[in-house]
Symmetry: C2
Subunit: 353 residues, 2 copies
């Protein structure tokens, strides 16, 4: 039975409820029918409470992409070869990946962290913070040792701390790792005591046969690890079927919450990591904002378990934090509306209240 | 039987299919699993075809808000009094309304056009282009005369022409008009031969009793105008139950299409106007992009009739073009991704194709 280090389970601060209340009152006075800005109103109110500011903003978003490789790819669960993980790291830092474009266009800082790819020498510009090259094949053995799990959590903490020291007021978490939808699916199935078939999707692009095979591999793995009966701890599950980058996502989110920095969560893999994190540290949930509903099959179930209502469903399934980065303008515009709109009184507009 | 002037029914140009094909091919070469950027891929491809450019962009979006008042408010169909229409015009131009904030934050030009509010003297900064102050109460008579309908169409054409002469490469159409969900609902019900109750919503904030009353008023109006049996022309329907600002939306969209400028459509009222426009000029549909699904009850049916899949559903019901303006970042980011991402070849990333 593995356990998390204390900093992972330490309860983070609560949002500032007084500021949240003032923000809710202000929303009611803005020149619009009450509630007519829908989810953007709640978003502004939450960002006020999380930042403790009556004029919330997202001035310095930092995007952290954690990358790792997965031994489970030996079982033929992915449409792409593992080499792509490392190749994409170079693409991230040279500016050609989707997340690179989204970061640049929006003035967001981008940190790429190799937490466990197969690369011997990650490209210049990538932070290397790893203890191993890839995980073990979790169909046959534990994906991680306890030491590796702790190292991954620390890699996340280190990256989040760098970003926050650098002034980050929002963390966008993303990932890259061929094979990691298999790991995330196994993780979610173990934690949700769920039906593997209902949670397994196409990843980067499997066909129906590929998905069947992947489902079988994950089901067999859960049986092998005795994770098919519920009640396992998040630490145990991460160790048995997790990944280096998934551990890092957990560590980064927890660190952000402790530092009062909200986290904008991307798609399936990030949400699975947050499921593990929240299941071990429920107060983390307050600090998480959810960006989009991915087409990856199991995402909906994870979002439901986290009581999360993402902002949009654009049929995305890329990862890299790209869905979260696409939601960033909505956060910024929600804040601008909250801060800059006139009130009924100030504009001389008749209110019905 | 009323008829549109020739410029309204003249067939606009088609999108550039060669550019669209090249854009589709480029999407397949970008460093991401095919299809993994979901609706953003199709958005970039469409914007390429509409702009005729291999590197589409939205550099100069112009927001046009058409405002008008509605005689049907005499029947108690709205939660707000008609004075609010004029009060909000002042708020639009002084920068305190939601759309003012959204325009400013995104560098979009904002044109506010009084096409028929009750105001005698619209505030400075508002274009006045009106032939009447408010429509007639369509429960008892035609909302518009033919001359008024034509004037409204022209007001839309004039505003679109000003924007396009000023360099607009995208028009965002919005509206303001207390009572105009009743007009739009009547319009949609007449054109879709639909169930009024299924199309009638809360507007700015009616309760259940208010919605029942509004449904009854609209149903009686359709019977009075013999619009309850299908087969009416869009021109007839606009004249009988339309509005000055709704005519202007039609005129502006048609003008944009003729000038090869795409239109980003806001919520319920704009979509109802586009339903009227497309039903009379089907080739217009190619030039329309749909932004969001409103909570206004009838929006879904109109979107279905237009075969439109909006980008998000954020529970919005404000109007003013605000939902469309909130979608603008997605258009711009879709273009940036299309233009700036590396290809598998250029980045040395393994492709599965």
């Amino acid at each position: 039975m593995s356990e998390f280090p204390k900093w992972v389970t330490a309860v983070p601060p609560r949002p500032d409820l007084n500021t949240e209340t003032r923000a809710r009152e202000r929303q009611a006075r803005l020149t619009k029918p009450a509630g007519s800005l829908g989810q953007l109103e709640e978003l502004a109110i939450r960002l006020a409470g999380l930042s403790g500011s009556d004029r919330p903003s997202v001035a310095a978003p930092h995007i952290l992409i954690f990358a790792g490789d997965h031994g489970i790819t030996a079982e033929g669960v992915s449409a792409y070869p593992s080499e792509v993980t490392g190749q994409m790291l170079a693409n991230f830092v040279s500016g050609g990946a989707a997340i690179s474009v989204l970061a640049r266009e929006q003035g967001a800082a981008l940190q790429v962290i190799d937490t466990g790819t197969l690369l011997q020498n990650p490209p210049a510009g990538v932070h290397s913070d790893k203890i191993a090259r890839g995980t073990r094949n979790f169909r046959r053995e534990d994906a991680l040792t306890a030491e590796e799990l702790f190292h991954g959590l620390d890699a996340g903490r280190n990256a989040a701390t760098r970003a926050i020291n650098d002034g980050a007021d929002l963390l966008i978490l993303g990932e890259m790792g061929i094979g990691n939808t298999s790991s995330a699916t196994a993780l979610a199935a173990a934690l949700l005591d769920g039906d593997v078939a209902a949670l397994t999707g196409a990843g980067t692009g499997l066909n129906a046969d590929g998905i069947s095979h992947k489902t079988r591999m994950i089901t067999e793995s859960l049986t092998f690890h005795e994770l098919d009966r519920g009640g396992a701890s998040a630490a145990d599950v991460l160790l048995k079927v997790g990944g280096h980058e998934i551990s890092a996502l957990v560590g980064a989110a927890i660190t952000a919450a402790h530092e009062r920095v909200p986290v904008l969560v991307d798609g399936f893999i990030c949400s699975a990591a947050m499921l593990a994190a929240v299941s071990t540290n429920p107060a983390l949930r307050d600090w998480l904002l959810f960006s989009h509903r991915s087409t990856e099959h199991g995402h909906a179930a994870i979002l439901t378990a986290l009581n999360a209502e993402p902002l949009f469903d654009l049929g995305l399934r890329l990862g890299e934090g790209s869905g979260a980065a696409l939601a960033l303008p909505l956060l910024r515009l929600a804040c601008a509306l909250h801060n800059e709109m006139a009130t009924f009184d100030s504009a001389g507009v008749s209110s019905i209240s």
